[in-house]
Symmetry: C2
Subunit: 397 residues, 2 copies
Amino acid sequence: MQFASRLDNVETSAIRELFKLLGKPGIISFAGGFPDSAMFDVEGLREASRRALDEEPGGALQYGATEGYEPLRAQLSSFMKNKGVDVAPDGLIVTTGSQQALDLLGKTLISPGDKVIVEGPTFLATIQCFRLYGAQLISAPVDANGVDADKLEALIAEHKPKFVYLIPTFGNPSGGTLSLERRKKVLQAAVKHGTVIVEDDPYGDLYFGEAPPPSLMALTAQVPGSRELLVHCGSLSKVLSPGLRIGWMIAPAELLAKATMCKQFSDAHTSTFAQATAAQYLKSGRMPATLAHVREVYGQRAAAMGAALKREMGDAVSFTQPGGGLFFWARLTGAGGKLADANQLAKRAIEKGVAFVPGAPFFAQDPDVATFRLSFATANAEKIEEGIGRLGQALKG
Amino acid sequence: MQFASRLDNVETSAIRELFKLLGKPGIISFAGGFPDSAMFDVEGLREASRRALDEEPGGALQYGATEGYEPLRAQLSSFMKNKGVDVAPDGLIVTTGSQQALDLLGKTLISPGDKVIVEGPTFLATIQCFRLYGAQLISAPVDANGVDADKLEALIAEHKPKFVYLIPTFGNPSGGTLSLERRKKVLQAAVKHGTVIVEDDPYGDLYFGEAPPPSLMALTAQVPGSRELLVHCGSLSKVLSPGLRIGWMIAPAELLAKATMCKQFSDAHTSTFAQATAAQYLKSGRMPATLAHVREVYGQRAAAMGAALKREMGDAVSFTQPGGGLFFWARLTGAGGKLADANQLAKRAIEKGVAFVPGAPFFAQDPDVATFRLSFATANAEKIEEGIGRLGQALKG
């Protein structure tokens, strides 16, 4: 069987191979990218789905508009308004998870050979998704304060990309958060060069102490001309439930219309059953308590992991304590002649009974093999202590 | 903003413009392609979703495997077994409606410029979906017995298409059903020329009297070598609920693996909440009664529409009474000097208070402007009488 040429641009990821080893009994896994199932508000979602079927069964079970179920678009408009973004219900479309927003952006914007700038490192499924549409990815460097805005602008000027894709808040995998100053610079650079910026924001609500700076979308109000160039992707997956597959995309009207047309031929619309349930949940007023709960629990786990890493790994790893999200992004320093290759460490770690993801595959260009990602979301503090202890043993060899 | 070149291959359909007129008060619409909301087993689905959340909330609300939720794959395997198809749970993947199966086939198989053979007429969203991936569509003629198998083989030999896409049973829009003899010929032609055949089968369970011939997938058992060339797309949308967005695809292992990779970057997975609900519903044993109910009600409506068409339109239209599905496919004969252009009739009909879809857009090549599609799914017998009466008035001018 002969497959489409676009498949030549992607390969089965090394991470998938690693994930096959996770079934080993007794493994403590920091490898996943998912929230803790124990955090789901099952009672609230049960009630929401009951109401969805009681109040408007025809809406919840019938075909729906490709743009999304109206009551959910209205709820998401309010949800965004609370986060400083002024968007009308028809200024956003509902997507089947924010992964679909990425797919629709690829389908709508990327012609084979087009350049797209991403962070180095960035979300693995973004790299593969855009490459399937033939994108040539350019990597912009990041640090704990997010993407280097000056270097990003230089890359924009040099490559004239179709768009720039960023996860500015508690990035996956970097854990980094773009500073307020850099956010404004990014928006100014977008206006100066007429470049579309895609802000992927699945983690922005998951902060542990102080709230992060306003989203790029919220800040467009302060940078004239930037709103017409900004796309914002949101998701309920990390804070409420990934199983609903509810994401959304805010974009300039013309782009939103084209993306809607592409969505029509991708899956017609997102499950109205899931959309009606999400709408009822947001309407129920339980979201603030749910957010407070996940922030508290993940915050404790992040603190436990940071302390354990310092204690067990010392100067053999460098990292910045994340202020939110689900991930630590760490780097093997090689201090004291210790291991500096995270792929090797991952193999040794599996033998010691702990798993994590090496960082190299997250780079679209110039992989840094010393980096790795640890999720603190699904293990409690005790397991985190034990797992990082095993990691320390693995480092010793 | 500059969009991807693939968007040049599609245009906003004339049908969408027509649909905007459907909001007019008092319109009786035969234009839709959806089932009747009143037919949904709301009680059964409420119970199924309650069970899904009670029994395995972690599974129903968490990220899931891209291939699908295991209990649903097992239920779908049994469902297909009852229809004469022997497929293991891992021989199918769950898709976000069968629309996504079409999208994944396009993504996985179509390189720009590749030829694909479809029926003339065929499902409109298929035409657009495949064109977005750059397909050049070739149209094979159909009659009440489905695609002309001899002409199809000649077109395969001439064009060497990437694959052939058929809706063999109660086709949309043709209403036609491929005869048993032609089914075998199609499979033999596939083997002879090494051509992949895609069988889209959302309507096969919706028969009114006698069951239709076995699906192409079921018949592969009788034609050596054909199973390795056959893709089968199924859906719960027409018989249970479109809002769940549950479809599935059975395909040769290598193709299924590539489609799964593409799905990973399209929407990660289909809503596990919807999948777990569908799995519980199928497990509950209510499906046979639901099928019996929809068959009875739609069968009555089809009979009412056929009788009304004969009475009101006489020899001005020709059509074959459908044995299942949701649609009449009719053709203006021009007899007695009456209108022979369905676009003109559609405009007049809207003025008289009845809507339907002209047939021309359903043709990928050589549109027949005399054809049109009427859905009998959503209006009761009384409304059908009244609506077809108005259509008769519109024809008189």
